[in-house]
Symmetry: D2
Amino acid sequence: MRAIVKATAQPGVEIREVPVPTIGPGQLLLKVLRAGVCGTDLHIYAWDRWSQGRLKPPVTLGHEFVGEIVAVGEGVLELQVGERVSCESHIQCHHCVACRTGSGHVCENTRILGVDVNGGFAQYVAVPAENAWRVPANVPIEVAAVMEPLGNAVHTAFAGPLSACNIAVTGCGPIGLFAIGVARAAGAARVFASDVSPYRLELAREMKADFVIDASQESLAKRVREATGGRGLDGVLEMSGSPDAMREGLDALRNGGRLSLLGLPKEPFELDWNRLVIFKGITVHGIVGRRMYDTWYQMDNLLGSGRLDIRPAITHVMPMERFDEAIELLRTGHAGKVVLIPWGQEG
Amino acid sequence: MRAIVKATAQPGVEIREVPVPTIGPGQLLLKVLRAGVCGTDLHIYAWDRWSQGRLKPPVTLGHEFVGEIVAVGEGVLELQVGERVSCESHIQCHHCVACRTGSGHVCENTRILGVDVNGGFAQYVAVPAENAWRVPANVPIEVAAVMEPLGNAVHTAFAGPLSACNIAVTGCGPIGLFAIGVARAAGAARVFASDVSPYRLELAREMKADFVIDASQESLAKRVREATGGRGLDGVLEMSGSPDAMREGLDALRNGGRLSLLGLPKEPFELDWNRLVIFKGITVHGIVGRRMYDTWYQMDNLLGSGRLDIRPAITHVMPMERFDEAIELLRTGHAGKVVLIPWGQEG
Amino acid sequence: MRAIVKATAQPGVEIREVPVPTIGPGQLLLKVLRAGVCGTDLHIYAWDRWSQGRLKPPVTLGHEFVGEIVAVGEGVLELQVGERVSCESHIQCHHCVACRTGSGHVCENTRILGVDVNGGFAQYVAVPAENAWRVPANVPIEVAAVMEPLGNAVHTAFAGPLSACNIAVTGCGPIGLFAIGVARAAGAARVFASDVSPYRLELAREMKADFVIDASQESLAKRVREATGGRGLDGVLEMSGSPDAMREGLDALRNGGRLSLLGLPKEPFELDWNRLVIFKGITVHGIVGRRMYDTWYQMDNLLGSGRLDIRPAITHVMPMERFDEAIELLRTGHAGKVVLIPWGQEG
Amino acid sequence: MRAIVKATAQPGVEIREVPVPTIGPGQLLLKVLRAGVCGTDLHIYAWDRWSQGRLKPPVTLGHEFVGEIVAVGEGVLELQVGERVSCESHIQCHHCVACRTGSGHVCENTRILGVDVNGGFAQYVAVPAENAWRVPANVPIEVAAVMEPLGNAVHTAFAGPLSACNIAVTGCGPIGLFAIGVARAAGAARVFASDVSPYRLELAREMKADFVIDASQESLAKRVREATGGRGLDGVLEMSGSPDAMREGLDALRNGGRLSLLGLPKEPFELDWNRLVIFKGITVHGIVGRRMYDTWYQMDNLLGSGRLDIRPAITHVMPMERFDEAIELLRTGHAGKVVLIPWGQEG
């Protein structure tokens, strides 16, 4: 089969023929229908320091995808050949404190599909059956492909109060755009979205943010104060990794608000803890992955009921063969979410 | 001024002339603009056992209302003459454990406007300034009049998880109807509404319940299982006080779900605790009043942002003079919420 | 090997020879070192209605035990032959909503060791490796045997606020006695214990309850008011299944308190919901099993650190052969927890 | 009367005669019995940048004290002359979002006794009656004097799970020492205490920390791993304001743990957010003041029940006249908590 492989310890990828995976007990073999490209894939492509320390080439990339079950391993009773499933990319160890207490998203020994084990940028992929999620019938295939990053947005949004709250999303990349939709569907009263890219701010508008702020031009905190009668934000969903966005978000929070951090800063940075966190009584959440599988139920309900539509954030659907082009679109900020069509699925 | 007064310890009310209230330090004098009629008013009208034990006639009735500030007492700095305010009806003691720990809604010494002290079925009413809530400008006056009972619905709905959840409202009287709107606006994935009155079920549809169940004809639990792929409800907002509705709601809950009880049963009743509560790991909330003032901020956000519209549940607006007729409409189940127009406000 | 078997659908048990269990992938074979007798065993012995509906004889009884691993099944890497493990008795399905969201204690398809599958009243028992808990070295073997019911007490106690709280335990059977110790070790400020048996009240004193109330002689609510300056209880851990205890507990709670129900009422019963639950803003928890495995970590920490000592509640240690005698002791209320020594372990 | 006054905008204080305060409605006049010296008093004494921006001399200092009520203002019904009360130092505005939602500890307009208004380093002090807390009779007067800083420790400790948890206190100044006692009394399984001062580490031992770590000599994370079987800490109570202590604490936390920050860093500092917060799924709490008045009830219960004894942390009791000496003891780290005896109370 064809696959996108980080073949050697250097920048770039190879598209090449590899064997169809074999499956063991408790696993599924999926024919990949669609796959999403993630910011992490950019890092792996560029072969940055994190990638160098983590990946052991050769590895088939791709950790966001939907597939059709074509074979089920021994002991798998709850899923059948022919079903359409989206996949959780984090494989739990099931033995650490986190896994044993319902917090497998912070498993001490997580292995990630498309990073630590072969992933879904290929015609077929093997996954643990427990990581597969039967997709509601009404969910479009492009959406089903990106439930993994959508789950990041849901996890971040649901980390604190949301309903009837004033919420800001700082950073309108794909997950930020998803988060706008999630916050709206989940009952936030007012959703503020900030970024510095006009392209992304336009997408934020399409995702129905109530207030769209160009952070290079105006102050989030000021805009929030005006729109909330001076009360400030109840929560910030930080999706940019930008120290300035984090500071601005903290500034815009009311005392006692929450800052939920999904965006990864490029490097350590300074913060005025006293003024922005301690004296304000702020709660800061570090967020990683998706709650397994609470987040998936939440997504399933939001998508399955038709409350949430993330299609405006999916700007490109293109053949997997054109992966280099997808990377370039993302690298230059000319895309929301990019979805890839595997070889043989184009029709 | 004119007022609706429970004048003596017997059924009925009197409409009569009473003095305009005087106000002390920390109080406001309001010109009443609109007032809502509550189920409790029916009990007081009928002079049931609860009323006989609680009210000390003469008392001016009415605990749901909006007014314009016409005078402010000594020490009131945050509100001014001319502002439009809706009112929390529970007057806290500020000294019991509940009041001292942010739970004034379960104050051990609550006094209630229109029950324990003179209320708002009158041309003027005196209220503690802390109980007044400045209404967002975009909120229609009939809606502002009934923020108190709307707050019951919000309090009940927000007592447990709501966003992305499958929620049932059992009982579609005025507060149940409000709760449908609240659950939708606050991000519930699917809202089920049950009642036995065709009139109320039609109003439930107008409030945009996703599934409307005539409990005299079909099983809530069965309908829920079909619509949720067998998962069941995450939460039940019990608004009827009916033992059958409570049992049916518990049956329809998934294991680990929550039942939030606002409806008051007429008398003690039996429950199969083992099967319906303990083995299922259910959490049951007794709900009273509104969180002071968390619930009001939530309402303010939902109404002020335009996310919530409860107007379909307000079926009648009529002069206060026609109070007997309003009572009759409610008693016979031919109304959602009834709003009264005080003397002199008709124009 | 020898085992205590519910051999036929009638009262009583048989002690007889049965084959040593074989184990499959993911399982452990344990040599049983000690086992506890539970109230459920009395019901099964008496062959009450619940037992008749649930058990399918022949079944080896016993769901509380500690054993030494003598064989490990395929795929078990985290535990080794020779280790001493206590066991969670609930076997999760891993596929229902509860299991998939960290709430396996309310699994929709739970199977229970010693009830649905063969248990630990035997020389050997087969258990899923995931249900085994490595016991801290300092924990005495009798205590290790009863971590399962101790976990019921921990789960109930930890279902709501505990530290610095005023807590009552209603019902001083074995789990109630454990709960007294747990509440003390976990930081409750004052622990009230009530029962009607002088024998059990004496054990409550040995478990260091601060206030011991004979419910046949005095009012819990009155005693609580005196000891708390009128504030009332923050929480009640209901361990008796007695409707009167539940009503008395609700009465003694402060407004906004919590009632956590583990005790199983014999039959449905009436409650004055308005006065005792709704107007007081009470939260009621139905509790079953142990959180998997949060509760086990909590127990491990409390026992391993030496903070908790439950030995005063373990009143009898006797050979498994004398099972009928153990049942009689429990049935007549002349025992706290009874621990059994399997054949061959007496020395 | 005599008082310790920040008389002018420069380092130091003056002990001088000032008028006995007069009281208005809702206030109390207290004869001060004992008062505690706080780290904040050092900053004010030294007249650091924060002090220069905040204080408006002349101000009588002192925000930790116990007094006897000698006069009650109009409208005060719940307290009487002759009662002994400790005081919350934060005066709420009662109008901001925080105050109106049970979070007065993060009031947007807090005024602090001894900082913004005259405090308790004097023979008499005027306080709002709502800030007064009737002290349980069994609480020694020196302890009653320092309930305000003890409340900081309680607030920090209770900001997350505590019972049956492994908890570290980083920084063993007076509040850190209190926090050790609180964590033990509130049911933490193992309490780790770290500091770099041998004097303070000795006091940590006297407060019964289970593990005492000299952070200049050994690694907290390493010691924790050994003592917890590799599991790590469930929570860190950060009391030092040291960036290194914060990093070390984060490192020692298990994934999903919590870091509660009370210590104030001297200046902004860098943090590796990805490794220490985001990938670990940590929750960070900014903590200020005491929950009003939840924290006071918790303290009252812990002290009143005799579970908590903080006397080992109170190392010096000396006449108020010797304030300069008290400041010097604290500045050089040769004291735990210092309590002052006002003029006329020495006998």
